[in-house]
Subunit: 219 residues, 2 copies
């Protein structure tokens, strides 16, 4: 499965959980297409690749679809996530309730500032960085969100890897890369979300629709 | 220029501004490669496509590079952005100082809750939604960040388009799509950042490195 298809499948999965939550039992390719921002033909093709077939009268049972897709996506294990850097964005993520429908739980925060980690008003416990190794192991954490300042991001990523974290969602503006690993080992998975970069790209695309800005073409 | 190249160029641009800010005058392909997460060969190739050539002794003048890339990226116009939905994530973005080096300014917030827009402690003015049209025009705003709850996102996007906003960065978990437009018209530019989806993809990639999860292969 390539990454575009994976994105679509996770979007179908999210939409299905929401549809079930509002009491629906059956869904059509067209509904999922709307939710995922693709055409119904793409949904049908994805399902055909995954060997998911609709019913004779059309449509799919939502419960059945959720069960099948959740197996494909490897759901079922606890998806514990920590937030490292409890500034404004980190705090916003600790309070965010939108992860629950996806089985993702923010279980703890970490910060180097005693004022932050001594504050008990956070929705989840916040620990000093010195307890990272211990808590990552205790909470069985594989994935962390980095919301530290730019200058601390690379060092934070190193500490997370050393503590046993395998996946990072990085909100700091520097681009983090996984280290090369020995053959057979699995490299860390790092996704970078750079908000300023996204805005810049929007401005660029508005100014030069279809990349017509440049007379040069890509090789 | 394709979108991968655009992302790299904006990364070079960010890195150059930071390097200049700390007093450097000269930069090498390797420095920019590190900052953008690519190889030095890719940087050199990009620059060759853009007809940017280094100096005989190696390296590039930072000031010169910034000027050239800023022309390519269409910089110079004010890049005013508004935040619609001043909950925790919206507030965090209004306080975020990382946009300034890129010439992006958050100029106002909007919220439907009188408690929020009557609060004068925000770093930028926050207006009621009823003043959206007026303020978008007055502030010459082309791009908005949506940080409203999921249930309000589609409606908010409509209102923004009607007010004259052309570009949207959407943080709500539903996927927003630009409307089809008549031939000759420019469609809106919408980027969706779905944090839960990013985390799900990381979990998936950790569980099934290289997409080996599924016995089916992509067509």
């Amino acid at each position: 499965m390539n990454s575009d298809m994976l994105i679509r499948i996770t979007r179908y999965y999210r939409a299905l959980n929401r549809l079930r939550a509002i009491g629906l039992e059956k869904v059509f390719a067209h509904n999922l297409a709307d939710a995922a921002g693709v055409s119904a033909a793409v949904v049908r093709k994805d399902f055909s690749i995954l060997e998911i077939h609709g019913q004779k009268r059309g449509g799919y049972e939502i419960t059945d679809l959720i069960e099948r897709i959740s197996k494909i996506l490897g759901k079922g294990d606890p998806q514990n996530v920590i937030v490292v850097g409890c500034g404004r964005i980190g705090k916003a993520l600790m309070h965010y309730s939108g992860f629950e429908p996806d089985g993702i739980r923010i279980v703890a925060g970490f910060d180097s500032d005693p004022i932050v980690y001594s504050d008990v008003s956070h929705p989840v416990p916040v620990y000093p960085m010195s307890r990272l190794d211990e808590m990552v192991e205790a909470l069985d954490v594989k994935v962390a969100i980095i919301t530290v300042p730019e200058s601390a991001a690379a060092d934070t990523a190193e500490k997370l890897m050393e503590a046993g974290v395998k996946g990072i969602l990085n909100f700091s503006p520097i681009t983090l890369k996984p280290h090369p690993v020995a053959a057979g080992d699995t490299p860390a998975v790092i996704h970078n979300i750079n908000i300023a970069l996204e805005l810049e790209q929007i401005f660029y695309q508005l100014q030069f629709p279809d990349g017509k800005s440049s007379k040069r073409t890509d090789p």
